[in-house]
């Protein structure tokens, strides 16, 4: 009998949904358990941080790491797990591209603290207290990790071998990745373990008209028809997003918001979406449209950063808001 593989799962700045996604492979977890020993999995097994420290380097065969890097402790764990693992997988949008918590790059620590601890409607904080990495209470000293200004992806922190995008990654892709690992049939280092196609390629709707007269907010649309949402004027990130999910959002008559990350061969999800939008929005009478009318049309694209980089601002070409 060949020796069993050694797996580890870990989360950093994440929501726990990636862990639930692993639980959601249901009985397939038994296949995994048959082929691999899970050495470390906060949600399901009691292994300690210290146990990991005591492992020899490279002891873990594959570590699935979810969550972005937001504070000093997560950074430390990323380094530790990198050292102890032969293969490190950035699991889920947060680890792979920064995820929704990565939108905090529109601000910085000061901005976050101001809102959360001073300005919020229910705060009573006349003395202006803020959490501090180290603080004296009457009984002694208390410490908490240092909160960073900028959210980073896993590969901006340590070397990453594979990426499994999605928020959370679709069950099918998880099974596929785990299957490939068990068979020892891994793609080249640096690969994204997901199909090389866009969400549109998998969507139940087809893009046919390829033109829209105006952008509409989803709540303004009285009845969403059974056809491509983008062509109904609803901003759908499908063309700029990597597939693999099968398009569950459109099944619920909601647009893709881009959790699969950029399409293959695209450096920047927002850049790609701008291209896609520019080729269909306002082409009806482009020859006669004045610049002013065009601007008005583009006013419909509100919050471009939050819309185009919902799951990946930290990994965009321009990774954060410039804060003087």
């Amino acid at each position: 009998m060949t020796e069993k593989l050694k797996f580890a799962f870990y989360w950093a700045a994440s929501c726990g949904g990636c862990e639930i996604a692993v639980l959601d492979i249901d009985e397939a977890i038994l296949t995994v358990a048959g082929a691999a020993d899970i050495l470390f999995w906060p949600v399901a097994i009691d292994t300690k941080y210290k146990d990991v420290e005591e492992m020899p380097d490279g002891h873990i065969d594959v570590c699935f790491f979810n969550g972005a890097i937001r504070n000093s402790e997560q950074e430390h764990l990323a380094h530790l797990l990198r050292k102890k693992s032969k293969v490190l997988v950035a699991f889920g949008s947060c680890a792979a591209t920064g995820g929704i918590p990565g939108l905090a790059n529109l601000s910085n620590k000061k901005g976050v603290f101001e809102t959360v601890y001073h300005e919020n409607a229910s705060i009573e904080n006349p003395e202006g207290v803020e959490p501090e990495p180290s603080s004296e209470v009457k009984e002694g000293e208390l410490t908490i990790p240092v909160f960073f200004d900028t959210v980073k992806t896993l590969d901006q922190t340590v070397d990453v071998d594979y990426y499994l995008p999605g928020c959370p990654p679709p069950t099918k892709l998880i099974l596929q990745a785990v299957g490939a690992i068990i068979k020892g049939d891994l793609p080249p280092k640096g690969s994204v373990i997901a199909p090389a196609k866009s969400v549109c390629d998998e969507c139940r709707f087809e893009r046919s008209e390829k033109r829209i007269a105006k952008v509409r907010r989803i709540y303004e649309v009285e009845k969403v028809d059974d056809k491509c949402l983008l062509e109904q004027g609803i901003l759908c990130m499908g063309p700029a997003t990597r597939g693999g999910c099968g398009g569950p959002c459109m099944d619920a008559y909601m647009p893709c918001t881009g959790c699969g990350g950029p399409t293959p061969n695209s450096l920047d999800q927002g850049g790609k979406m701008i291209s896609a939008l520019a080729s269909i929005l306002g082409i009806e009478d482009e020859e006669t449209l004045t610049d002013e009318d065009l601007e008005k049309l583009l006013d419909g694209v509100v919050d471009p950063v939050g819309t185009f980089y919902k799951y990946g601002l930290p990994s965009a070409l321009i990774k954060r808001r410039v804060i003087p």
Binding site: D268, S275, L281, V305, L317
Partner: protein, 139 residues
């Protein structure tokens, strides 16, 4: 700030703007030497990613120029690029980068003077804006 010399990348359409720039050169028109020109077959070929990447690399300003309305050899590459550039500007604004760091213009093959004027004006604006805040930032 006065001795700051911005670095500009210009994506110029082969059929019109690139020829326009050429004409500006051969006519010995005076314009600032800050521009590195890149010839493209049509302004429509300019992917927003090129623009964002240039800014990320610390380039101070990106100019894209194409054929006048109606003149694009590929019919509507220039209109499309106009829309792209406007969207990029909106993106930059929200990232707190001055949208004036990117510029789109129609420049024909015969408009050597317009090319020189656009470049002069653009470089002046960039001088006022100062260096790209992303410059030197290890991203």
């Amino acid at each position: 700030m006065s001795d700051f010399e911005p670095v500009v990348v210009a994506f110029l359409c082969n059929w019109c703007s690139y020829a326009g720039a050429d004409l500006a050169g051969t006519s010995r028109l005076k314009y600032p030497p800050n521009v590195r020109s890149i010839r493209v077959m049509c302004s429509g070929r300019v992917d927003p990613v090129f623009v964002l990447d240039a800014l990320k690399e610390g380039i101070d300003g990106v100019l894209v120029a194409g054929c006048h309305p109606g003149d694009c050899h590929y019919q509507s590459g220039n209109y499309k690029t106009n829309r792209k550039m406007k969207l990029i500007q909106r993106l930059l604004k929200d990232l707190n980068m001055d949208p004036r760091r990117v510029r789109f213009d129609y420049i024909s093959a015969s408009e050597g003077q317009k090319f020189a004027d656009v470049v002069t004006e653009f470089v002046q604006t960039l001088k006022e804006l100062g260096p790209n805040p992303l410059k030197g930032e290890c991203q």
